[in-house]
Amino acid sequence: MEQTLTTTMTVNGTQVTRNVPPRQHLVDFLREELGLTGSHLGCEHGVCGACTIRVNGEIVRGCLMLAVQANGCRVDTIEGLSDSKELEKLQGAFHRRNALQCGFCTPGMLMAAQDLIRSGKKATREEIRAHISGNYCRCTGYQAIVDAIEEVMQAEVNHG
């Protein structure tokens, strides 16, 4: 049998403990062990951004981090941030503006976008484009995504 390491992490607010093969990456762990299938695998070599998740508050490529490295960490996924309503505004803006088509990139895209929103910075369109440049979308022309993020950022800045 493959050797495993006992790993404990807090996923979307719930503590989980599993015996994890050291080679399993974090997104495979989330998808296969926990059934959290919202984080997607697009390339498994750290380029496409579909597996972007949040570990201890920082966005990471879930395919470039091993599950055992998340031992003791807090992990947030699209499912958790949807239920906590943290992503509500972005999700609303993405929906109204059709900033998604097939939706495969969308969870990762929202994680990256929320990272920028949380920074509290008022970014220009060019800066928004740069911030999501690690997230590949083949369907849209990116423009509606930029529009949606800009809209939410504008509202946050005006509000705050």
Partner: protein, 795 residues
């Protein structure tokens, strides 16, 4: 026919369009936004087995020996199978079509037997309890190979010194020549002749979700349920049935959420057929997911063309003739069942497309090589034909010293010339080239752009403006595939059912991969029946429940599926009014349905809520006359037949800045004016056009599957194969002309491929416009900085 039954494009029907023409958000996007969609890899099945493939490391080699003994001993391994074992369960195929005269291809097996013909061809399959166990065991398969001569260059393939498939005699899969006659005479005496040769890099779709299939065979029923990331569930149902020997009625194909397709997921892939066959062999569910590296090696590629094009015109700039000599390489097999002859064929059909010349000769040679297979990818043939046409048109304008917009104005087919037969034989119902050009010049502020360009040139800032007019194939009739013997449906069907609660359920054979198909069907159904959109539920992508149909390809979803939904919606409304008239004891002609209720047509008074109509129709039909039976489910079908294709048109413009020091191209802005007939949802149409433009920009600037002389793919991963990311992409302005097709009530033409069709040409022309004062010109896509510096003779 009441007012509301008139075609949507009839005069005076504006008020009855309902949701049609409105930018309504897609209801089905909500689940995707929360990561709660169901892509094939999200499904969980008991006893699920996973298959991984041992793929050929060579582009052409004989398989002398395969040794599975070590792989079989690995933990979790259920079985290891070679091509012969799988062939017992899956018949091979030959991808030819009768109307592509002379097309030939050898039989292809799910798993290669004896010989591998491209690097990445599956040569053995490992089935294991987990994907990682299957992949581990693949590494332990031992093979002895005898390398065979490799054909990678398409000119060499055409010469045929080395023949890949000896039984076929040569490397030519298909050739076509079309000649109006009189071409040589025109060129011999023409005042102006321009000629150039263009090269197009082989590239691929790079769907973010890799190909995915989960086949679940039930031995007791001899039935197969396939969860498949496919654009054409009914086509696949037929294929699985015929090749696996299962009655068609026992095969069900379900396409749930699909992570991008663009034509990639409409073909028969050997590894997917093997996965289905393994499910039958092992009598348990089997899943295959192509990982990214496998995707580059085995998803269809497209567009490897070399084409020489000539144009003859008068001194005053009137185009007289085009001549085309196209060569394209498709890998070692024509792809089943659509064949790989279609792209070359479309290049012949479409070259010269927007213009009014009368003489044309076009030729394509489609040849086999030892690279991955190519087949139909978004905008099939269009990006090639549009770039050839628009590239040579710009060269002619440059030679004459005419402005490119003015040159087009002189030559575009007039807007009042329709119906029109194009020299290639295509028939145009009604196009709007001049309206589109005028609108483009207006939204680009063309004159201002030109003035700014010349001002900046003095400061040695090299900006270019590129135009690309295009014609586009949409809403294909059975003339595309059916006449050639392919069991690919050109018709689609929609079933609409009033539920007892007053909800309307729509079942349609066209599938959704994110374009918004389900959203527009909800808009059409709600408008046709007279309910609000929240009362409509749309189901697609399941051969077990939807009417029979072709699915999603060739820009047909809205135009064909949408029409079926409209017809079914109108029929359902009529049937609902029959029931209402019995309940209310009023003349049907006095009634209509609006805002979820039966109303009096004149007074607009609400007479009966639809939930009440449903309640009586389903639970208290005893209260209706004994000779009356309510029919609250209707099905309608639609096939376009008057034209081979509903050809439409558009025009794009690109504004770029080229840095002559680095060869980098900065995309400043892009515009697209498109005539897609009736626009059902402008927001969805615009973002689909933008996505298409960005794919076309990828072809123009970044994307190419590079092969070494030994047929090895050199950049088959996302780090080395560049795709457009948000940082480099410009804002894209969309505008519309609406010339509805009169073949249907809805009047919608296709739009899905427009962006991809024209963007490469527009970007190419913009780059060449920027480079013109420097005496440089590029004609080999993608236009990498290196190629631009070569054109500038700096490297």
């Amino acid at each position: 026919m009441g007012k509301a039954e008139l075609p949507l494009h009839a005069p005076g029907t504006q008020v009855d369009k309902g949701y049609i023409g409105q930018s309504v958000p897609r209801p089905n996007a909500q689940r995707l936004l929360q990561g709660r969609g169901t892509f094939t890899d999200d499904l969980r099945f008991p006893r699920l087995a996973h298959v991984a493939f041992f793929r050929s490391p060579y582009a052409h080699a004989r398989i002398k020996r395969l040794d599975f003994s070590k792989a079989l001993k690995q933990p979790g391994v259920i079985g290891v199978f070679d091509g012969r074992a799988v062939a017992e369960y899956c018949k091979p195929w030959v991808a030819v079509l009768a109307h592509l005269k002379g097309i030939k291809s050898p039989p292809q097996h799910a798993i290669a037997i004896e010989r591998a013909c491209w690097q990445g061809e599956a040569c053995a399959a490992v089935v294991a309890e987990s994907r990682s166990q299957a992949e581990d065991a693949v590494q332990l398969i031992e093979a002895d190979w005898e390398e065979l001569p490799v054909v990678v260059d398409m000119e060499e393939a055409l010469q045929g010194k080395t023949v890949i498939h000896r039984d076929l005699g040569d490397n030519v899969c298909f050739k076509r020549e079309h000649d109006t006659g009189g071409v040589d005479e025109i060129f011999a005496k023409a005042e102006v002749v321009v000629e150039d040769t263009f090269h197009f890099g082989r590239h691929t779709g790079v769907c973010l979700e890799g190909r995915a299939i989960l086949a679940d065979y039930n031995a007791a029923e001899h039935s197969l349920t396939v969860y498949h990331a496919t654009q054409a569930p009914h086509m696949m149902q037929d294929i699985f049935s015929r090749h696996l020997g299962i009655p068609e009625a026992n095969v069900r194909v379900i396409a749930k959420d699909i992570g991008g397709s663009y034509g990639i997921k409409v073909h028969v892939y050997p590894d997917e057929m093997a996965a289905a066959a393994l499910s039958v062999m092992l009598r348990r569910p089997v899943k295959f997911l192509a990982d990214r590296l496998e995707s580059f090696l085995s998803d269809i590629h497209a567009r490897e063309h070399r084409a020489r094009v000539r144009l003859a015109c008068t001194k005053s700039g009137e185009i007289l003739a085009f001549e085309l000599d196209d060569l394209t390489a498709i890998g070692p097999y024509s792809v089943y069942p659509r064949t790989s002859g279609i792209e070359g064929n479309q290049v012949v059909n479409l070259t010269g497309g927007p213009y009014k010349h009368q003489k044309y000769r076009g030729r394509t040679n489609v040849v086999f090589t030892n690279k991955n297979v190519t087949c139909q990818y978004r905008a099939v043939g269009h990006p090639i034909a549009v770039a050839l046409t628009e590239g040579i048109v710009d060269l002619a304008a440059q030679k004459l010293g005419m402005d490119p917009a003015q040159f087009r104005k002189v030559n575009l087919i007039p807007d009042d010339a329709y119906p029109y037969t194009f020299p290639s034989g295509l028939k145009f119902e009604k196009l709007s080239h001049h309206k589109a050009l005028d609108l483009l010049l207006k939204i680009t502020e063309y004159d201002k752009l030109r003035a700014e360009q010349s001002r900046l040139r003095k400061q040695r800032i090299y900006r270019g403006i590129g135009l690309a007019a295009m014609i586009e194939v949409t809403n294909p009739s059975p003339a595309f595939y059916g006449v050639g013997g392919a069991r690919i449906s050109a018709q689609d069907g929609a079933t609409l059912r009033l539920e007892p609660t007053g909800m309307v359920t729509v079942l349609c054979s066209v599938t959704e991969q994110g374009q918004g198909t389900e959203g527009i069907f909800a808009q059409i159904a709600a408008s046709a029946v007279g309910v609000s959109m929240d009362k409509v539920k749309v189901i697609t992508g399941d051969t077990g429940v939807t009417p029979y149909g072709g699915g999603t390809w060739a820009s047909r979803g809205a135009g064909i599926g949408g029409e079926a939904v409209l017809l079914a919606g109108r029929a359902l409304r009529s049937n609902m009014l029959d029931v209402a008239s019995k309940i209310l004891n009023l003349d049907k002609a006095e009634l209509d349905i609006r805002d979820n209720a039966v109303i009096n047509k004149l007074s607009l008074e609400r007479k009966l809520e639809l939930a009440e109509l449903g309640r009586i129709g389903y639970f208290r039909p005893d209260t209706l006359p004994v000779d009356f039976q309510s029919e609250l489910t209707v099905t309608r079908h639609y096939t376009p037949r008057q034209y081979g294709f509903t050809i439409t048109n558009g025009i794009q413009a690109s504004l770029v800045e080229v840095d002559p020091q680095t060869g980098f191209v900065k995309l400043l802005k892009h515009w697209c004016v498109e005539d897609s007939g009736t626009v059902i949802n402008p927001m969805l149409v615009d973002e689909q056009i933008r996505g298409g433009v960005v794919q076309g920009i990828g072809a123009a600037l970044y994307e190419e599957c590079l092969y070494g002389p030994d047929g090895q793919l050199l950049n088959g991963n996302m780090a080395d194969y560049l795709v457009p990311m948000s940082g480099e992409m410009p804002d894209i302005v969309c505008a519309h002309i609406e010339t509805p097709t009169l073949q249907s009530q809805l009047g919608a033409k296709g739009v899905g491929e427009a962006g991809t069709a024209g963007a490469p040409a527009a970007v190419m022309n913009a780059i060449n416009d920027a480079l013109a004062p420097l005496g440089a010109r590029v004609t080999r896509m993608p236009f990498t900085p290196e190629r631009i510096l070569q054109a500038l003779k700096k490297v």
